[in-house]
């Protein structure tokens, strides 16, 4: 049993992608929330004087990268949920009894979950264009892709790490709901964090989504709070940490 088994990882990835494409309700359901935020906040606050907005950037431009980050969070939480629903129906045992290392299983899950989360983020990006979003140029797309991948790996890894601590999907869903919104509001995705008291701002600094959204903003809009290399470095670190944590915790999941 090799630690990294490409064929096994591919098999797990392919299954996630097929399931995603076959359940349109899941695609629509996962897009509905971010889309509402985009439309209601984007139009509701257009032209409003929001403290801390970068010079010459209007609110919709500021918001779209944040909503894309939000979509990624949402998509990633579904990946954690997928593990638990496999457990609910007994399918997880079928995976665990195969001659595939736990690390490979986690990597396959992350590959699948990241792919579906990125597809959802791209859909949101496409929808935002007719709503008035203008991205900086075609050259910004490869950089955007890099950040999407890093955000996906970070949060799908977190989802798997969390899911491994629960035995049923209900408890997990509850915790995820309590986690998604603080992560979102404390990332500068919807509004700049400068308005928060200083201790709260420190919390934002340990939130990987802060760097994810900032990096996306640098790529798509050309305005960012931190240097690009800081965003990139922080996300690489958080990806490695989350994948290792997910693999470590999943290794200890009792199969029966």
């Amino acid at each position: 049993m090799s630690l990294v088994d490409p064929l096994g990882i591919y098999g797990l990835w392919l299954r996630d992608v097929k399931r995603f494409l076959r359940t349109p309700s899941q695609i629509i359901g996962s897009l509905a929330f971010p889309l509402m935020f985009l439309v209601f906040l984007g139009f509701g606050l257009s032209g409003a004087a929001i403290p801390g907005l970068p010079e010459g950037v209007d609110y919709l431009q500021y918001l779209v990268p944040g909503i894309i980050g939000f979509t990624m969070l949402f998509g990633a939480s579904f990946a954690g949920l997928a593990i638990l629903s496999d457990q609910d129906v007994g399918f997880l045992k079928e995976i665990l009894v195969a001659p595939v290392s736990r690390t490979s299983i986690v990597l396959g899950r992350i590959a699948g979950g990241s792919t579906t989360a990125i597809v959802q983020a791209v859909l949101i990006l496409l929808i935002s264009i007719p709503l008035g979003f203008e991205f900086a140029g075609w050259l910004s797309l490869p950089l955007t892709a890099v950040f999407l991948v890093l955000i996906a790996i970070t949060f799908v890894g977190l989802g798997i790490a969390l899911a491994s601590q629960f035995s049923d999907s209900e408890g997990f869903s509850l915790i995820v709901q309590f986690l998604i919104f603080p992560l979102l509001f404390l990332s500068g995705a919807l509004f700049p964090i400068e308005g928060f008291p200083e201790p709260v701002q420190y919390l934002a600094l340990i939130n990987p989504l802060t760097y994810g959204v900032d990096g996306l903003r640098a790529a798509l809009v050309g305005a960012s709070t931190y240097p690009l290399i800081v965003d990139f470095g922080a996300l690489v670190i958080s990806s490695v940490v989350m994948v290792s944590l997910g693999a470590y915790l999943f290794e200890r999941v009792e199969a029966v």
Binding site: M1, Y10, G11, L12, R15, G90, K93, V97, P99
Partner: protein
């Protein structure tokens, strides 16, 4: 080399010993049964053998590979069909098989060859490209058996392969299992709490009770070991006088008392029924019914453990909810026998 060699295998969950110091072996090509009531430890044993659970003590080898030291090799050489359905309902039958094959390291050329073979074997060629959610219970079960065979394992475990299936599908599943064993020569281990299933399918059975194996032999030898016939008398109570009289009769080989019944093993049961009725009459005991039959595995279980399988299941579930005197427990054996009769 034995297909499975178990040596002192033990599994404890906290204070509960689910599997207690088991030792036995299964030969290559054998169709072997683990028979016992729910809660006897059959599934725990299987889960240890397929590397899903770590044993607390003891060791076991599958095709010579140690279940704790060589998990990868053990997993490669076995296939398992779990008790609960474990297929991806969104995928088609063929896709489920392909998914499984990838996890077992089968490349595309091997998959293209093996998947149609397996579909043929489990009779699902026409349904191959249908989503599994549209399959019937029997079809799903067949797909799972097929999936267990995908990587051509040397040992196939089937955990309660026919629970939840209707009588006809059950029969069909038995035939598949038998064919596999005979035509492919694969070692097959099934767990079951159905006596008739063990009797019909298995060359040898291990009878399990409360985490231990109480006997390992062929169903024929096990039933023959009881000797003679079984007469079961249903009584108005459990009168001691009658049992004292039974003790005195040289033709009574043994008897086991349960709830309101007494099962008596004796030679030439048909000629002794009248004697038994007379005995009961003498001590003033009312007999509500008399049943005479040749011994079954159910009788073997009763003789070895002192209770019927149904009583064991009733008491295991009782222990979980509340303490209840087993002798006052409701008889649930009726549905048990019913299940056994369906296929007679």
């Amino acid at each position: 080399m034995d297909a499975i060699a178990i040596d002192g295998l033990t599994k404890e969950f906290g204070a509960v010993t689910a599997v207690d110091n088991l030792s036995f072996s299964v030969e290559q090509g054998e169709l072997f049964g683990l028979l016992g009531p729910n809660g006897a430890g059959k599934s725990t044993l299987i889960n240890m053998l397929v590397t899903l659970l770590q044993p607390s003590e003891g060791a076991a080898r599958i095709n010579g590979h140690d279940i704790t030291e060589e998990q990868g090799k053990v997993r490669d050489s076995l296939g398992i069909v779990f008790q609960e359905p474990a297929v991806d309902e969104e995928l088609t039958g063929a896709e489920n098989l392909a998914f499984h094959a990838r996890l077992y390291g089968k490349r595309k050329t091997e998959r293209d060859e093996r998947i149609p073979e397996v579909l043929e074997l489990v009779d699902l060629v026409d349904e191959a490209d249908m989503p599994v959610k549209n399959y019937s219970g029997g079809m799903q079960r067949r797909l799972e058996i097929g999936r267990g065979l995908m990587h051509e394992p040397e040992v196939l475990f089937l955990d309660e392969p026919t629970s939840g299936l209707d009588a006809r599908t059950r029969r069909d599943t038995w035939e598949y299992i038998q064919r596999l064993n005979e035509e492919v020569g694969m070692t097959i281990v099934i767990t079951t709490h159905f006596m008739d299933e063990a009797d019909f399918l298995c060359e040898r059975v291990a009878i399990m009770d409360q985490g231990t194996v109480v006997a390992v032999d062929s169903p024929e030898n096990l039933t023959a070991s009881l000797g003679g016939d079984i007469v079961t008398l249903s009584l108005g109570g459990t009168p001691k006088e009658l049992f004292d009289r039974l003790d005195d009769q040289p033709w009574v080989r043994e008897y086991t008392v349960t709830d309101t019944d007494v099962a008596i093993t004796l030679e030439n049961g048909d000629t002794r029924v009248a004697d038994l009725v007379r005995l009961a009459d003498e001590v003033g005991v009312v007999i509500t019914s008399v049943d005479l039959h040749t011994p079954s595995l159910e009788d073997v279980f009763l003789s070895l453990t002192g209770s019927t399988m149904a009583e064991r299941e009733a008491t295991t579930t009782d222990e979980e909810s509340s303490e209840r005197d087993p002798s006052n427990g409701e008889r649930t054996s009726d549905d048990h026998f019913e299940a056994a009769e369906v296929t007679e």
